[in-house]
């Protein structure tokens, strides 16, 4: 069965703050409901915690580490799930139940699997 990454885009969320407790509960409920197709996934710390790594001049060049990126748009990648579904329609119906889908957006992308 094909796998799909459900990439969650929302306003930055700081899960340690109490006002997100309710949302957190909704995610737990989603996790239980979708257990049959969930193969992995996590919430991410806010974009302020991100570090971007580039190697200038290609392979073997200088490692340049920068702070960020900060979300320049309202919505940033704040989490992801890995789903294993029969087809896109099933993946979409699961993605629509991720709490982020009703105040942000969930991008569903097929996972490219290389032949062993």
């Amino acid at each position: 069965m094909p796998k799909y990454a459900a990439l969650i885009y929302t306003a930055d969320v700081d899960w340690s703050r109490p006002e997100f407790a309710e949302t957190s509960k909704e995610y737990n409920e989603f996790g239980e409901a979708a257990a049959a197709v969930l193969r992995g996934g996590s919430a991410l710390y806010p974009t302020s915690s991100a570090t971007t790594v580039r190697v200038t001049g290609g392979k073997g060049g200088d490692v340049v580490t920068t702070d960020g990126p900060y979300a320049e748009t309202k919505e940033a990648l704040t989490g992801f799930y890995l789903l294993e579904c029969a087809d896109l329609d099933e993946a979409v119906s699961v993605a629509a139940k991720i709490p982020a889908a009703w105040d942000g957006a969930v991008e569903v992308r097929p996972v490219l699997e290389f032949d062993e």
């Binding site: 799909y4 579904c85 896109l88 329609d89 979409v92 992308r109 097929p110």
Partner: protein
């Protein structure tokens, strides 16, 4: 004995059905398209010469299957994987229900909401309409290379993203049917709005849209959207012969020679409107209501004898299911015909959000002119012209502008 045209039409229609079946059997629209195309070309070469085989579909299916097997074998050899191609080599006859379901699957796959609207239209024309990539490109006014890329990307997305080859479950059907209907309607408009005649391919687009609409209504005879859409397309298409004058200029509805309207299409359209409306007593389908308006015009013996009461009340129904400034504008035009220019104008002026819409200015201009307000009409004509419409329509507005006193 069928004429050459009838044979070609038969081949095209059966070719679409064979393509749909092969897409199910092979799981690949791309492969099915290659194979079905090959069979269609062979049929076009041989049938007009040797006669149509007793079972045309079976002939095409067998030929296409053989071709598909060849392609799979070749691909398998190239990939170093041997034969997995034998599974569908036999000439299995497909029962009609299966073929119908295959076609429906193909319709819903081509019009899947995960594809862009542009891709849906192109793919529907290519696979369901049986148009070549070059014809689709010409019809939609896109360079052929761009169209080829668009089609390739759409088919890749179907494969890579795992868009299912399936009719959606009943609870999703109404929502998904909306997209399918919109695709067919868009194809029709591409051919119709340009003001046919100048370009044969664009006439072919309206013909393909009617064909697809017919197919959808045949496949889903109980769906008011499918019936309403076909009715709407037929009733618009019935006026095609009278829409242009000898010089290719546009003839307005009021001035059209009604003797040149296609009475058979009108009869069929009106009958379909009735069926569509009977199936939705509570909340009528939007296409069916638009078709009802078109039917009022189609059945009127002359423009002045149009039943404006009926037209206006259908617009009221349409506003209840699909309110938009453009619908309000069209309703205002009907009110102007019944109650006079001033009454229509008051409604037109009360519509917000159409300042950038040339038809709003053109309609105001026309009603101001009729109301004897030449100075204001002049300004409105100029604004409509500045916003731009198609050439024949611009020509009409300029003529009106030139006729104004002062």
């Amino acid at each position: 004995m069928l004429t050459g045209d009838a044979v070609a039409r038969l081949i095209r229609e059966e070719g679409t059905r064979v393509l749909a079946t092969l897409a199910r059997v092979t799981g690949s629209i791309d492969l099915a398209e290659d194979a079905a195309q090959d069979a269609v070309v062979r049929a076009l070469e041989t049938w007009p010469r040797d006669g149509v085989p007793e079972n045309p579909r079976a002939w095409l299916l067998v030929t296409a299957r053989r071709r598909a097997v060849d392609i799979i074998r070749r691909e398998a050899r190239r990939a170093g994987k041997e034969a997995e191609a034998t599974m569908f080599a036999g000439p299995v006859p497909e029962p009609p229900e299966t073929v119908r379901d295959d076609l429906l699957r193909l319709v819903f796959t081509c019009c899947h909401p995960a594809l862009s609207m542009e891709a849906q239209v192109a793919l529907a024309l290519r696979t369901l309409g049986g148009l070549s990539t070059a014809e689709v490109a010409r019809g939609l006014l896109v360079p052929e290379a761009t169209m080829a890329k668009r089609l390739t990307r759409a088919k890749q997305k179907i494969t890579q993203a795992g868009i299912p080859y399936r009719v959606p479950p009943a609870e999703q059907l109404p929502a998904r049917l909306t997209g399918v209907a919109a695709t067919i309607y868009l194809i029709f408009n591409e051919g119709y709005a340009a003001g046919a005649g100048a370009d044969l391919v664009r006439v072919a687009l309206t013909a393909e849209a009617v064909r697809l609409g017919r197919l959808l209504a045949e496949l889903m005879p109980d769906e008011p959207t499918a019936l309403g859409l076909l009715a709407l397309l037929l009733l618009h298409d019935a006026r095609r012969g009278a829409r242009l004058d000898g010089a290719g200029g546009q003839v307005l509805l009021a001035d059209q020679d009604r003797a040149r309207w296609d009475q058979a299409a009108i009869k069929e359209g009106v009958e379909l409107v009735g069926r569509a409306l009977r199936r939705t007593p509570d909340r009528p389908d939007g296409y069916a209501v638009q078709a009802a308006i078109a039917a009022c015009h189609a059945l009127a013996p002359s423009y002045t004898e149009t039943n404006w009461d009926a037209v206006i009340s259908w617009y009221d129904v349409l506003l209840a299911v699909r309110d938009s400034p453009v619908v309000r504008l069209n309703r205002a035009v009907a009110v102007a015909e019944r109650d006079g220019a001033a009454a229509g104008l008051a409604l037109v002026d009360g519509i917000d959000g159409l300042g950038g819409y040339p038809w709003w200015h053109a309609t105001r201009a026309e009603l101001l002119r009729r109301d004897g307000r030449a100075g204001e009409a002049k300004g409105a004509y100029e604004r409509a012209i500045a916003l731009g419409l198609s050439a024949p329509q611009m020509e009409h507005l300029r003529r009106r502008l030139a006729e104004l006193p002062g």
